[in-house]
Structures are given as structure tokens and as C-alpha cells.
């Protein structure tokens, strides 16, 4: 069974993560997913790929804490968080949040809060690789 919180270079399967989440409880009546994807155009530039750097040990612990905080803050049954690092070509998956709850409202709210909080609390940095060169990305909401 895949761990519910992971940082990995390889792509993830949304279907596999949803299946893993659903296997934890038959009380789950709603599953909400957020999948962040690498765009091929940003701030007027064509993007070939993104490259993510992490503070490895701290990033994983921050994501594990984020999972616990999400479980405590919302009336949900489970949440899984997967983030990729290293080079990610445009069009590929970056991050996945999967939330399961009895009813949809809590799952939508928890999923939105979880990705917003990830951006502010997990030590990861994104670099854009363009035909003209590469540059670090300033954070944006």
C-alpha cells in the first residue's frame, strides 16, 4: 500500500490514489481531488518544464503535519497528499490532494484549505525552464 503522504520524482496515478483512499473506509460518500498540472505558458513565456527543489527532510514532515492538521480541522475521513519534485515537463502532474468524507461540502472545503496551506508551509521551490533560460518562481496564490 502506498503511503498517504509522499514526495516523489515519478508521476502518480489519480485513480490509484482514489482507490487507496476509498479502501480505508466504506463510510466515504464523497471524494474530492485537486491535481496541479505544469502549464506550458506563464507570465508571457512559453514553459518547457518546471523543476522543483525541496528541503527534503523538512518538506516531508511538513506534509505529514499538513495531513494531520487537515484531518483535525475538517469532518473528513481521510486525505492523501502527493507532490512531485525534480524536472516536470509541461502537461505533467505536479501535486495531488485527495480527500474523502461522508458528504461533499467538507471534502471540497478540506481539499481547498489543504492545497492553499501546502503552498505556504511546505519548503518546495519551483523553477521555470523556458526556451530563453530558467528562473525561480515568485510565490502566487
Amino acid at each position: 500500500m502506498l503511503e498517504p503522504v509522499r514526495i516523489q520524482t515519478e508521476d502518480f496515478s489519480v485513480e490509484e490514489e482514489v482507490r487507496a483512499l476509498k479502501s480505508t473506509s466504506k463510510r466515504i460518500g464523497a471524494v474530492v481531488t485537486f491535481c496541479g498540472v505544469a502549464r506550458d505558458f506563464s507570465r508571457g513565456h512559453r514553459i518547457e518544464s518546471l523543476e522543483f527543489e525541496q528541503y527534503q527532510s523538512m518538506a516531508l514532515r511538513a506534509m505529514e503535519k499538513l495531513r494531520q492538521d487537515t484531518l483535525e480541522r475538517f469532518d473528513i475521513i481521510d486525505v492523501r497528499i502527493v507532490h512531485r519534485v525534480a524536472r516536470i515537463p509541461a502537461g505533467d502532474n505536479i501535486v495531488l490532494i485527495v480527500v474523502g468524507s461522508e458528504h461533499r461540502k467538507e471534502a471540497f472545503e478540506a481539499c481547498s484549505w489543504c492545497i492553499d496551506t501546502l503552498k505556504n508551509t511546505v519548503p518546495l521551490w519551483k523553477k521555470e525552464i523556458t526556451p530563453e533560460g530558467e528562473s525561480w518562481v515568485e510565490p502566487h496564490p
Binding site: G36, F52, E53, Q54, Y55, S57, M58, A59, R61, H83, I94, V95, I115, L118, K119, N120, T121, V122, P123, L124, W125, K126, K127, W136, V137, E138, P139, H140
Partner: protein, 78 residues
């Protein structure tokens, strides 16, 4: 001795990902950054985030001998 880690744009601009800093301790993060600027003049200005031994810290946090201090630009994951 303090182990200092730099990430993202800070590592790129200074050409340094990791360094050892001989500095009198205890010292605040703010004091450590002042000393770091003397060694790495290309360290950019701006709002940084900090961690001491992988725990998030502030400019007022106290650094002790043997600590690992991460100096980080704002996070941009997701």
C-alpha cells in the same frame, strides 16, 4: 559552528547551497544573516523564511552552536 543551508534563488545567486559558519553563539537569526552577508555579498535582499534544525523559526529565534539553519525564499510548491 553553524551549518547554513540555502535554497532556491538564494542558492543560485550566491552559488552556495551549504556552508559552515564560525560565529559566536548564541546568536539571533538576524545576527547570523548579517554575518552571512559578509561572507556572501551576493545574498539578495528580501523576505526570507528560516528553519532551525528543520523547525520553522523567525528572525528573533536563537541559534546555538551545532545547529543547522536553513535560509529559504518564500515557498512556491504546488
Amino acid at each position: 559552528m553553524i551549518r547554513v543551508l540555502l535554497f532556491g534563488v538564494l542558492a543560485t545567486k550566491t552559488g552556495t547551497k551549504e556552508m559552515s559558519l564560525e560565529i559566536e553563539t548564541p546568536v539571533t537569526i538576524e545576527g547570523l544573516i548579517e554575518e552571512l552577508r559578509k561572507r556572501l555579498p551576493s545574498l539578495p535582499e528580501g523576505e526570507f523564511l528560516f528553519a532551525i534544525n528543520e523547525e520553522q523559526a523567525s528572525k528573533e529565534s536563537i541559534v546555538h552552536d551545532g545547529d543547522t539553519v536553513a535560509v529559504m525564499p518564500p515557498f512556491s510548491g504546488g
